[in-house]
Amino acid sequence: MHPGNVESAEQDHFDLLPFIAIMLCLLGALLLVTMSMASISLGAGAGEGWIPGPEKLTKIPILIEWDGTDAVWRKGGARIRESVDADVLPVDGVWYRVRRGENGDILGGVPVPEPPRSRFDELLAGLAANRETSYALIAVRPSGFDSFSRFSERFRGLRIDIGYEPIDQSKPVRLLLPKEVLP
């Protein structure tokens, strides 16, 4: 038994050291958890805020995320995710499906019927109609590297200005626009 808990004529005090040790251990553990959570949130887990520039902002960017299969953008506060087949694209008004070789290289295209109009097509049409005031800022995930040139061709084909930047696969991203250009 601990001497502090024993009634004794010589020792009439209560030893607080074990209690304080437990408290310090607990505080240390909580500090460790707090610091870990903070470092994860501020480091690898932090999102990215993209600021158009550094030149003067003459066009308003529309942020579009591309991961190789889905395009993600925001409209009226809502987040829209839609599957886009980058291998099907129009050339001079005719739709083609990309034909690939065994090693994945593009060999050419096969004409296909025009696919049904999607929300992504509406986004493109809106950007094309406002090409003097808007442009597409594309966040390219690593899984979308392979198909990005064909994806971006959908924009370039409509003479929509683009900017693009790679971003880690699961890192959140949003636009940081000056207040005066916010819709």
Binding site: A9, F14, L42, P54
Partner: protein
């Protein structure tokens, strides 16, 4: 005091200590919750320019396996095709065979090529089908890593020092495993006043430069 003397030792109450401990733990938990909630929305701000045409000369940086290697294209091409001479209609097939068989190296890069030409009726070569690409890949373990790229003696920094920010721009060719080193390399270039561009590359494949299509280096032959 008299009572203490009677029994020799009085058991102190642990309630204030337990109270203090509970308060401290509670405060720490609140701090943890606030930090987690506050840091959850943390954003790293980046300034991103819009794509625009340039008349500056492209100088390439391959970002592969977490390493970067910079090079000028023209000297590599010159080194590669010098022994072959320029392709001409009369010996196009022979030139294509020699081009495909050739392989050169620098300290950090391996250069190979792929050329093709079709033959029409009567075995005649169809010059319009002539296609040439130059493949450039980084040797394993070569190039600057994220740890060394910012050091004053790094090869990448020295290579940037040989370029002219007014006449050249830096074009990064990035594989999916090299985003962090690309950002570090780009920061170094931007600090020195260079414009930049980038294109995504397929993983574990050489950078391919078309010399006959519509690419940036087309028409060099």
């Amino acid at each position: 005091m008299s009572r203490k003397k009677q029994i020799g030792f009085e058991q102190p109450s642990l309630v204030p200590l337990a109270d203090m401990l509970t308060n401290t733990v509670g405060i720490m938990l609140f701090i943890l919750i606030f930090i987690t909630l506050g840091a959850g929305g943390a954003m790293i701000a980046r300034r991103l320019p819009r794509e625009r045409p340039t008349k500056a000369h492209a100088c390439y940086v391959l970002c592969v396996e977490g390493r970067v290697v910079g090079f000028r294209f023209a000297p590599l091409l010159e080194q590669f095709v010098a022994p072959l001479g320029r392709p001409s209609g009369s010996d196009l097939e022979m030139w294509v065979r020699a081009f495909n068989a050739r392989k050169t190296e620098t300290a950090s890069l391996v250069i190979s090529g792929e050329a093709s030409v079709d033959t029409g009726p009567f075995g005649l070569v169809r010059p319009e089908s002539f296609e040439v690409t130059l493949d450039i890949q980084v040797k394993p373990g070569r190039g600057e890593s994220l740890d060394t790229i910012g050091q004053p003696a790094s090869d990448y920094r020295q290579w940037l020092g040989t370029l002219d920010p007014k006449a050249d721009f830096v074009f990064f060719m990035i594989q999916p495993d090299s985003l962090a080193v690309f950002r570090a390399a780009r920061d170094e270039a931007v600090i020195r006043g260079f414009d930049f561009g980038w294109s995504p590359q397929r993983a574990r494949e050489p950078a391919r430069f078309s010399l006959t299509g519509s690419g940036r280096e087309a028409g060099r032959l």
